[in-house]
């Protein structure tokens, strides 16, 4: 009986010391970048500022994966290639590396899930902060900016198809109707699908899918959509600069702040979320395109503010 009591007390002490250690001793975090510079460097910079208490080592994922350093307490990957590389390499580095949690950031949901399939993490805790915006937010943005619009078209490619049912449900919830054009599995399907979609659509919602939206197809899609007088709602600021009417997206800094919150929460509770979508976001509009389509758009910051209020995050 006494032995059992000692064991329990000992375990409790060990646990509390672990928590104290986790709370007070600087943790060693690797920030593994897919590439140098650009949005990757922006995420790394903001992480460092947001986590002043942590000992952060930032480098390209390749350099970190090969480093002779002792295992860190956590790895934050920035970009798809960083997650892919880290999962692949760490699997071969032995037991000491098996349990190190990874927080994957700055990557699309579809590529995150694909990596988990390619490299099952085993007992390693893995969390992700994906770039995909919640569908409800996209629908709310349509309702906020195009109140008379009802029919929202999407061009379903292989990477978006799994999410269409959820999208349709969320559209219904916002009194919108999702128009699913013909499936696109190859570049030659795009044009027919697009034309069919534009026949009935009030707005075209672009969802990230490389088979549908890529550098080779975008010009075609933007011009055809514009000729049909249908506004395009995109997922990145670059698309808006190219000619889409508006987009909701999260900047690398916004992603980094949320990643830092995940890390802080993990330190406090020891828990990691499985997969998170961005809480912070930015709305960008193309006023020239909107005006040319005869659509009066409010200031982008004002629209974003309204959406945040709706989501309960003023």
């Amino acid at each position: 009986m006494r032995r059992i009591l000692h064991a329990v007390v000992g375990a409790a002490w060990l646990l509390s010391m672990t928590l104290v250690y986790a709370g007070n001793v600087p943790q060693h975090i690797w920030v593994a970048l897919a590439e140098e510079g650009g949005p990757y460097a922006e995420v790394a910079g903001v992480l460092r500022a947001e986590l002043p208490a942590a000992a952060i080592t930032t480098a390209s994922w390749g350099a970190l994966a090969d480093s002779k350093e002792s295992p860190p307490d956590m790895i934050i990957t920035v970009g798809h290639a960083a997650l892919e590389g880290m999962l692949g390499r760490l699997a071969a580095r032995g037991a000491a590396w098996e349990g190190i949690p990874i927080v994957a950031t700055l990557l699309p949901r579809v590529s995150y899930r694909a990596e988990l399939d390619n490299h099952p993490p085993g007992r390693r805790p893995v969390a992700a902060l994906v770039l995909d915006q919640p569908v409800a937010r996209q629908m709310a943005l349509i309702r906020r900016t195009l109140p008379n619009v009802r029919r929202v078209a999407v061009l379903p490619g292989p990477q978006t198809r799994p999410y269409l049912d959820a999208l349709a449900r969320e559209a219904d919830a916002h009194e919108l109707k999702l128009v699913k054009a013909g499936s696109i599995d190859a570049p030659e399907h795009i044009f027919a699908s697009l034309r069919a979609a534009l026949e009935t659509a009030d707005v075209l919602l672009a969802l990230p899918d490389t088979v549908v939206y890529n550098s080779a197809s975008l010009q075609n899609i933007l011009l055809t959509t514009y000729r049909a007088h249908v506004p395009l709602m995109a997922f990145s600021p670059a698309y808006v600069r190219a000619g889409a009417m508006l987009a909701v997206y999260s900047t690398p800094s916004q992603i980094a702040r949320q990643a830092a919150a995940i890390v802080r929460n993990w330190r406090a509770t020891g828990r990691l979320p499985a997969e998170q979508m961005p809480h912070e976001f930015t709305v960008i509009t193309n006023p020239k395109v909107a005006a040319s389509l005869g659509i009066a758009l409010d200031d982008a910051a004002e629209i974003a503010e309204d959406l945040r209020r709706q989501e309960g995050n003023p």
Partner: protein, 672 residues
């Protein structure tokens, strides 16, 4: 803004959004574009897609964050965007493809009832015409009608746009933009009273096959076959259509208008677009009266073909170079014999040719300034011994034009421009224009405009020499133009308001104007008659259009124009303008059905002699009920249309008992 918030707007010929359609780009072309403009090296995958494209295959890449954060070159550049209505220097009515179909119209003139200030008539039922404010001619001489940038104005006879305006298939039209007012500075000579800018669909948007057949009362028999094909590098469309009807009651005016139209949209390079159109047209129309010796019953045949091309290159996102050219030929067969003098041939036939070419350069100059300048040359010739008593009559016109748009402040837009024309036979004309748009609030825009526009005399007005011979002897000399006539002109002042009120789902466009007609070209004297400039008069009035979409299934248009003539010396002048014109159109979706009702009311007026041919105030009701449905992959539509459903009404020449009879017809349309 116009009705639907999704109607981008006007693309004036020589204003800043002068793209009939934003250009179509190919999958691979855009990749090439990326190669030159993408941020080099940073996101090599973007380039990889482009490079693979060169090999003929696009390989689906994995989705990564680069799809969110890569740079993409600007595609919808300023030069590709249509100008919003609030920035348009003038009042514009846009009729889009959906409205065209839902109106039940059979020709463009029918559609002009939807534009404030337009009167739709025709000297007989085979020759429909739409005129703005004043019935100065039977054949639309004071209109400028452009189809894909090509002016259909024919100088061969009296200056005609009505036949050319029939030379487009409604099914092919993407939208019609009607500039209400005068604007030679931007649209060239002849943009005198109203500019009808017809833009056909980009060939990429009309791939597949459409078959349509219409039949019903008053001899209505219309057929259409269209096929569009192509690849992203080049799209083509071929349309064959024929329309027949019995015209007016009590008139010898059975009509068949047949046409074959072609459009190709090609992309020789990523920044270059080439549009080619061509057409073969035939108008066969009854003419004359059984009781008229000099205008006996006969059939007039008009055959025409045209070639039109426009090449444009984006030199940078806000710089565009455009070269366009067109050639057109028409021949008229109109022969009969004088009824009371056997052997005396009456011939109004011949052949006409028009060739025009133009270069235009648009460039952003920074500091809110954009400029557009260019030059053009037009050659017109007529080969008709009966009308000109010579083998060939011709003239040339040389034009130089420029417009500058300046936005000194976000609320202000100032447009200033002018067109200078040297006519080989009618002297030199200058058409300046100044327009100011002031945005009172985001939803309210005020407009003011001042312009001088002109119409050059036609070949007949300059060079007519019509003689009649019997057995080799001259027995009559009805026309002899001494060639001293100059252009007629209009000085126009206008104030406008545009309210785009999304909260009310309503747009309101108001135009108050004074149009001072000067030096109107009129016939003078008898045997022979000459053409001379005569004193003009003033038109003053106000017109508005309201478009209201209370819900997604309902759209209501209300147009009204109130007009007065001032300083007119002839009864005919004041009678040529009705005091008011009203159109109320209701477009309704009821479940799977579409219903349209259009009520059009025109006050008393006269095209010819007000003493004998004044039409009483009239109201015409047009109805359309349509059921669009699907037959597998085929999209089908059955429609029943009734024109003048409220009863027949007297038209054009009441003295001859001309009547537009109620006609009901059905249409079956299949698209696959």
């Amino acid at each position: 803004m116009q009705p639907s918030s999704a109607t981008p707007n006007p693309l004036p010929a020589r204003q800043f959004s002068s793209q009939p359609n934003p250009t179509h780009h190919t999958v691979c072309d855009s990749a090439k574009h990326h190669e030159t403009t993408a941020r080099r090296g940073r996101f090599s995958r973007v380039l990889l897609v482009g490079l693979l494209c060169h090999a003929g295959d696009v390989v689906a890449a994995e989705l990564t964050e680069k799809d969110y954060f890569s740079d993409i070159p600007e595609i919808l550049t300023v030069t590709r965007l249509a100008q919003p209505l609030s920035e348009t220097p003038g009042a514009v009515t846009v009729i889009d493809r959906a409205t065209i179909r839902r109106s039940g119209a059979r020709d463009v003139a029918d559609l002009l009832r939807l534009v404030p200030g337009y009167i739709v008539s025709g000297w007989n039922g085979a020759n429909p015409v739409g005129i703005y404010h004043a019935a100065l001619s039977d054949s639309g001489s004071q209109n400028q009608v452009l189809i894909d940038g090509r002016s259909v104005y024919s100088s061969f006879y009296l200056g005609d746009t009505h036949r050319g305006m029939m030379g487009v298939v409604l099914e092919d039209i993407e939208r019609i933009e009607v500039l209400r007012g005068s604007n030679s500075a931007a649209y060239g000579a002849n943009a005198f009273l109203g500019v009808i800018n017809i833009v056909t669909s980009h060939a990429a948007d009309t791939t597949g096959t459409v078959v349509s057949a219409t039949a019903g009362g008053e001899g209505v028999r219309d057929t259409l076959l269209r096929h569009g094909w192509g690849s992203p590098e080049a799209f083509f469309r071929l349309t064959a259509a024929s329309q027949s009807d019995h015209g007016y009651r009590n008139a010898h005016d059975d009509k068949t208008f047949s046409q074959i139209q072609f459009r190709g949209d090609l992309k020789p390079a990523p920044d270059t677009d080439l549009m080619l159109t061509a057409g073969v047209l035939r108008h066969s129309a009854g003419e004359g009266f059984s009781t008229s010796a000099g205008n006996p019953l006969r059939t007039v045949l008009w055959d025409s073909f045209f070639l039109n091309g426009s090449w444009q290159k984006s030199l940078s996102p806000d710089e565009l170079l455009k070269i366009s050219a067109s050639y057109e030929q028409e021949s008229i067969h109109d022969q009969s014999y004088y009824q009371t003098i056997p052997g005396l041939l009456l011939d109004f036939g011949g052949r006409g040719q028009r060739l025009s070419a133009e270069l235009q350069h648009t460039v952003g100059l920074g500091a809110g300034l954009r400029a557009n300048w260019g030059f053009g040359v037009k050659h017109e010739a007529a080969f008709s011994r009966p009308l000109y008593f010579s083998d060939k009559a011709s003239f040339e016109r040389y034009q130089l034009f420029s417009n500058v748009e300046w936005k000194p402040h976000e609320r202000w837009i100032i447009n200033a421009g002018g067109l200078w024309e040297k006519h080989s036979d009618a002297g030199t004309e200058f058409a300046p224009r100044l327009a100011v748009n002031y945005r009172l609030a985001p939803e309210h825009t005020l407009r003011a405009g001042l312009t001088r526009s002109f119409r050059s005399p036609s070949l007949l007005e300059l060079k007519a020499d019509v003689r009649y011979f019997l057995g080799g002897l001259q027995v009559g000399h009805t026309y002899l133009a001494r060639g001293e006539v100059r252009a007629e002109s209009v000085e126009s002042r206008e104030l406008g308001y545009l309210g785009e009120l999304p909260a009310l789902r309503l747009t309101l466009d108001v135009r108050a104007f004074e149009e001072r007609l000067k030096d109107l070209i009129r016939p003078r004297g008898d045997n022979p008659t000459d053409f001379v400039n005569s004193p003009g008069y003033h038109l003053r009035g106000i017109e508005y259009q309201v478009r209201w979409k209370p819900n997604t299934d309902t759209e209501i248009w209300l147009n009204q124009a109130f007009l007065t003539t001032l300083n007119s010396v002839r009864d005919q002048d004041s009678a040529a303008t009705p005091r008011h014109i009203t159109t109320l159109a209701w477009f309704q979706r009821i479940g799977a059905l579409e219903l349209t009702a259009q009520l059009h009311n025109v006050d008393s007026m006269s095209f010819r002699n007000p003493a004998s041919d004044r039409t009483a105030p009239r109201t015409r009701l047009d109805l359309r009920l349509a059921w669009p449905f699907r037959l597998g992959a085929t999209r089908a539509e059955i429609a029943v249309i009734s024109q003048a459903a409220n009863g027949s009404y007297p038209v054009f020449m009441p003295s001859r008992q001309f009547e537009f009879a109620r006609r009901t017809f059905g249409t079956l349309r299949l698209e696959f």
